[in-house]
């Protein structure tokens, strides 16, 4: 910004020259104010989503720039929520962008006193091994009265109720095939 430009924008001159003699409005506007626009207009895209908290199912518009969520607002199109959100829904941008979110696998070995790092691939492999091993060790073909059981009582699951239907479906399908029956959910709690 050159000096001339600066002087040209000097509100005192604009006060003298324009209708805003008292300098309380138009004359005092800054360059920033003149350029102000809602930051969501700069979003690359708006993605239709649903609030992850309670079961009302409020519609959300997720504003995305690059690979980052820049804002989450209520979806005015929704006949359920009409664009409105509660404090939790309104905080869901903070939920997804939380700096304390887990980003890496954490591992605690038996009797260990500290967290350790673990590669995701290794972790998945170790878990698969444990499932197979536990299943074999705890398999029940029949009960004492000879009734067929075909199951393991060594592996249990407890799921939250903010998981997707598709996720629950794969879980139930896999556990059932594995013979793991102690599969439970927040829905019961």
């Amino acid at each position: 910004m050159g000096l001339g430009d600066w002087i040209g924008r000097w509100p005192v001159l604009r006060q003298v020259a324009g209708p805003d003699r008292l300098g309380r409005g138009a004359a005092s506007r800054s360059r920033h104010s003149d350029q102000l626009a809602p930051r969501t207009t700069a979003a690359d895209r708006v993605v239709k989503s649903v609030c992850p908290y309670c079961a009302v199912g409020c519609g959300q518009d997720v504003y995305v720039s690059g690979n980052r969520v820049t804002g989450i607002e209520g979806d005015d199109d929704s006949p359920i929520s009409r664009g409105r959100l509660c404090p939790k829904g309104a905080a869901s941008e903070q939920l997804v962008n939380s700096p304390t979110r887990l980003t890496r696998v954490r591992y605690r070995r038996p009797y260990g006193t500290e967290w350790e790092d673990l590669d995701l691939d290794t972790a998945l492999d170790m878990i698969a091994d444990r499932v197979i091993d536990t299943r074999r060790r705890t398999w029940q073909d029949t009960d004492a009265r000879g009734r067929v059981l075909n199951r393991t009582m060594g592996i249990a699951h407890l799921g939250g109720a903010t998981l997707d239907n598709e996720e629950n479906y794969l879980m139930k399908k896999l556990y059932t095939a594995l013979g793991a029956i102690q599969v439970e959910n927040q829905a019961r709690i």
Binding site: D20, S28, P38, I72, L85
Partner: protein
């Protein structure tokens, strides 16, 4: 155009130097009779305006742990618990008591409880003291008739803080500048409604052209009064009040001070001419004293 310092103003935006054809004055009507105290407004405001967290203190003010408006709180939900004696006490059918302490207090429990909730916000006064006293022009009136701090201008002189008759604006610690509700000026420029009004689940916070909102508010208060809520009243909707009417006004269910609002706020600059007159007389007196001191007793 008159009433530069106080009194009703027909077109506050025009008075601030915006050409004819400027947008209508926009404002909030906060109808506390439908506020459920969810604080969505507080969160939505912070989310949009990137306002910092304002402290993890349990205040014990009912469910209000925010306390008051400030640099880091641009919407504040007040919670007021009130007790009134109940007219008829419940009847005890006199089953044999199990026998334990405390039975005698039950009579004190015969009470009716009301729980008032209200989302407070910057009033965007017609005569805004913060704006009037701001020496840098950081605080200014926008084309929507709202009052906004320009963060690229504010030098943190702090004059606006004690000037505000509602205790709204404040200096942000660690930042040094003054901050308050902008009525989502950036959103308004993009044709969006402010974040709090958009989020408000029960439409307690309504946003719109000021004239329209005032009509709606009057209808609502008339309706409430007719349906047995005599304590309902509008606050800040009267252009003849001490600040020329608030751009953001309220329907309250009790006296304003119960919610932490001043009962009869006046823009301080209303008295500015009197102040300068007094200062002029004082200055002249001082000048006269000095002249007299030098010219009078030549010692």
């Amino acid at each position: 155009m008159s009433n530069h310092l106080s009194g009703p103003v027909e077109d506050v935006t025009g008075q601030s130097g915006y050409p004819a054809g400027h947008p209508p004055r926009m404002g909030f009507f906060t109808d506390t009779s439908v506020c459920i105290g969810c604080k969505a407004c507080e969160v939505a405001c912070k989310e949009w305006n990137l306002v910092p967290e304002s402290g993890m203190d349990l205040l014990g003010s009912s469910y209000d742990n925010t306390g008051a408006l400030g640099a880091d709180t641009w919407r504040h939900v007040a919670f007021v618990e009130q007790v009134r004696p109940r007219e008829s006490a419940p009847v005890d059918l006199g089953m044999p008591a199990v026998g334990r302490p405390g039975g005698q207090e039950a009579a004190d429990a015969d009470r009716d409880v009301t729980w008032l909730m209200a989302s407070d916000v910057c009033k965007h006064c017609t005569h805004a003291a913060c704006l009037d006293v701001c020496p840098t022009g950081s605080l200014f009136r926008t084309e929507f008739g709202t009052v906004v701090v320009q963060e690229d201008i504010c030098n943190g002189c702090g004059y606006c803080v004690p000037a505000c008759p509602y205790g709204v604006i404040d200096i942000r610690a660690g930042d040094g500048r003054a901050w308050k509700c902008t009525l989502c000026y950036d959103r308004l420029r993009g044709g969006l409604e402010p974040a709090c009004a958009k989020a408000c689940p029960t439409d307690s916070i309504q946003f719109g052209p000021w004239d329209e909102l005032r009509g709606r508010a009057q209808q609502r208060v008339d309706h409430l009064r007719a349906s047995g809520v005599p304590r309902a009243r509008l606050y800040g909707a009267d252009p003849d009040d001490g600040v020329g009417g608030d751009g953001a006004f309220f329907l309250l269910l009790d006296e304003p001070e119960v919610y932490g609002l001043p009962p009869d706020p006046v823009v301080t600059t209303r008295d500015l001419p009197a102040m300068w007159r007094a200062a002029g007389v004082a200055a002249a007196t001082a000048a006269a004293v000095m002249v007299a001191a030098f010219l009078g007793g030549r010692r």
